[in-house]
């Protein structure tokens, strides 16, 4: 290879080198030209394919980097766009002053992934420092199993969760669950109600407003006042223990708006664990638990006795069949069929309407009702809403029981509150209407804004309402309810003592004593109804179990304690402004007989 060949003749010369200027242009033959063309076309096609492929990759890259919605990518859970807020839970329930009656708390459950546990013995020891109740052998077995999931403990308290977290054991995790908690316990159990294990409302407001509670972001504010509720609860508990009664109930209502300020039914339960009664699980215990959940105020139909004379008198006065001065014969018992209507505190003479009301004369009331007639009585009670369930956003409401057909004997007994059974909620709603100037408003458990007054129907005239205030004041001043006179608060009211109807027979020893009242009577603000079921007389009550000795003194104490909380100022009851407003002309100068 020492001989240099001329370039042109070298067979290894690259073909694409341009020919040397001295050369003649190379004219390829036709075959070579066709081959070159094919080659070029193939090259272009391949290049185009690669270009498309790269373009796709580039576009995808832009798409992934710039536009992709990362939160939708299950493989990248760490960088969600929005931290998920806690799952929808039930709204808080608060009282009218913002105190929490029901709330939902996180209640995490602890589980383990045993495969991640490094030292089982150490883990068992550490966990038991926080949860000493766990069985070590069982825990050890759980943690050394080959499964990937084992519950350790359900429903931890927040503190336990914190402590477990602090142990820093790998493989322990929390499952979030929620739990309804009622910090006030049994204070308002019947109103607030309770929830089941799946957090659905099963009773009370929790049930009635279940959907609202589940969707509302704001707490649900009730008209209840926890302080008043407590006082009512405490005093009624005392009544039960003092008179070894079966139960008691009470309700306080704002007569102007129909807001229920307090509602207590005893015995009651702890909504934190409803249905649990103390002692062994027997049939009696189950019945007791059921009895506790029963809301006497809204579900209990009772023959309220003489309290009905309030409605009877209002009817007669409003319809004009009676006036404040009209007298009725109360000297002679009424005989109808096999019944004889007598008076408990018989006066054996003609009595005027205020006297009939004050002495609680059955005979006088019956004569007033007979004078008005069955139709008037029935339509008046219907107007007061006593013949149908109370219109309230509450699931547990009972239908009243009343006779059908409405015979003459029913007219007589209904005049003094027998033969018709209504719930205490009915009674207080009707009494509120009678006292507030004659407007019947549906009761409510939701707090109304300060200037909001719900629409209502006029049931009696303003004048009748004022007359009824005077009559109810008279009962507290001189009648059966003298012990309810919380001084300074101008209390008025009417007592009732009914024999309980068991299986169609009235039983003398089983009483239902009740009182319905309001204060201050010159301008009623709050109505209160208290009742006690089967009280037994004691030494202080001289053996009496009637309303005047049982619930009436308790109501006096309740009013004295709650009035300052409700912003009712004490006044001088003997001041001319008060006495003139509540004086009854026909009773002036009359000697009022004692019982």
């Amino acid at each position: 290879m020492s001989v240099a060949q001329p370039f042109e003749e070298n067979p290894c010369r690259p073909r694409h080198f341009p020919p040397l200027p001295a050369c003649a242009p190379v004219v390829p033959n036709e075959r070579a030209a066709a081959a070159l063309e094919t080659c070029r076309a193939r090259l272009v096609a391949a290049a185009a394919m690669f270009a498309v492929a790269f373009l796709v990759v580039a576009l995808r890259l832009v798409d992934v980097v710039a536009f992709a919605d990362e939160s939708a990518d299950p493989l990248r859970p760490g960088r969600a766009h929005v931290v998920a807020l806690p799952p929808p839970t039930r709204a808080d329930i608060i009282d009218r002053n913002g105190r929490m009656l029901a709330t939902t708390l996180d209640s995490p459950s602890l589980y383990a992934d045993p495969r991640q546990i490094i030292d089982v013995n150490e883990a068992v020891h550490a966990i038991r420092t926080v949860l000493p109740n766990l069985d070590p052998a069982e825990l050890h077995a759980k943690l050394s199993s080959s499964k990937s999931f084992a519950w350790i403990k359900r429903r931890l308290t927040p503190r336990q969760q914190y402590d477990i977290n602090r142990l820093g054991i790998p493989g322990l995790n929390f499952e979030h669950e929620v739990r309804r908690v009622y910090p006030f316990g049994d204070l308002a159990s019947h109103v607030v109600g309770f929830c089941g294990i799946d957090n659905n409302g099963l009773a009370g407001i929790e049930r009635a407003l279940d959907t609202t509670v589940k969707t509302s972001k704001e707490p649900i504010q009730l008209s209840l006042d926890a302080r008043v509720q407590f006082i009512l609860h405490q005093e009624l508990t005392k009544v039960i223990s003092d008179f070894s009664a079966k139960g008691a109930a009470g309700i306080i209502m704002d007569v102007r708006t129909g807001e229920i300020i307090a509602m207590v039914s005893l015995p009651d339960f702890d909504p934190n664990h409803p249905g649990r009664s103390d002692g062994p699980q027997t049939a009696a215990a189950a019945a007791d638990a059921k009895d506790r959940v029963f809301n006497k105020i809204t579900l209990g139909d009772y023959e309220l006795g003489s309290v009905f004379k309030t409605f009877n008198t209002a009817m007669a006065l409003d319809d004009g069949t009676a006036t404040m001065t009209k007298q009725y014969d109360a000297a002679h018992n009424i005989k109808i069929g096999r019944f004889t209507i007598t008076d408990y505190h018989g006066k054996h003479r003609a009595l005027s309407v205020p006297e009939i009301y004050m002495y609680s004369s059955n005979i006088g009331s019956a004569r007033m009702a007979l004078e008005a007639g069955a139709d008037r009585q029935r339509s008046f009670l219907a107007k007061l809403g006593l013949l149908k369930p109370v219109p309230i956003a509450f699931d547990e409401v009972a239908k009243p029981h009343f006779p059908n057909p409405w015979r003459e004997v029913n007219v007589i007994t209904i005049a003094y509150g027998h033969g018709i059974a209504v719930t205490p909620l009915h009674a207080i709603t009707a009494v509120s209407a009678i006292l507030n100037g004659g407007i019947l408003r549906p009761p409510t458990l939701r707090k109304l804004s300060p200037d909001e007054v719900p629409a209502g129907n006029r049931v009696i005239s303003q004048k009748t309402s004022e007359q009824m205030r005077k009559l109810m004041r008279l009962v507290v001043e001189y009648g059966t309810a003298r012990q309810a006179a919380a001084p300074g608060y101008v209390v008025g009211g009417k007592t009732g003592t009914a024999e309980k109807n068991v299986g169609g027979h009235y039983i003398e020893k089983k009483l239902l004593s009740d009182f319905v009242g309001a204060f201050p009577m010159n301008d009623p603000r709050y109505a209160i109804l208290t009742l006690v079921d089967e009280p037994h007389g004691n030494k202080e009550s001289h053996g009496y179990a009637t309303a005047g000795w049982t619930v009436v003194p308790a109501t006096g104490r309740i009013i004295e304690r709650i009035a300052p909380l409700l912003g009712v100022r004490p006044v001088d009851e003997s001041s001319p402004a008060i006495t003139n407003a509540l004086a009854i002309a026909s009773m002036q100068g009359k000697r009022i007989e004692d019982y």
Partner: protein, 231 residues
Amino acid sequence: MSRLSMVFWTLLVVASGFSTFMVKYAVQNIEDDLNRVRRHTVAEQQEIRVLTAEWTYLNQPERLAELNKRFLGLAPIATKQLQQRVEDIPLRPAPPPPAMNPEVGPIPVSAPAPGEPSAGAPPAGAPPAGASTPAESSLSVSLPNSAPASTAPISITAEIAPPSASVAPQRVMAAAMQPTPRAAALTPAALTPAALRSTAGAPVHPQIVKAVAVSHPGSLDALIAQIAEAH
């Protein structure tokens, strides 16, 4: 020319790509921050719920009544205590002028506060001149609860020893002059809300625990534990 535009477009693409990524990562960082804050908020909200529930639990009327019985012995307000409005309370008769009291001359005051009705510190044992109006006296009555130093009478005397024109010691002195040493003894830190709340924590006032143990589970934790047991 075409080379120039080539360079221009290339630079533009690079620049826009770069800025896109910059913005993207900036947004990601902000989102991370936002998420962190949100997680924090959620955790705080949960904690607030727990604390509110606990606070409510500790404020059960029944429990407060028990604590009252044990520590304060306050009775319900009697009706006669409510009979009168503030306007009905008569003004206290004006005190004799300072010149009438020959024993103690007016104490010099370095800088009387403007608007203060009485700048001079009153002689010991006599009602403070500033307390001559009912409004002033009611102010001084309410102060023992808010002034932190008032629980320790010794420190009060130490404070008021040098005649000073500053307002606070005067008020504290007025508080110390209230003839209610019992009230001062009954307002130790143990009865402030903060202390009541701490019953769930480690430093617990022994007496409070005793009071709680009478009928309630000691804390919300115990209540929840009880609920859990029930299920």
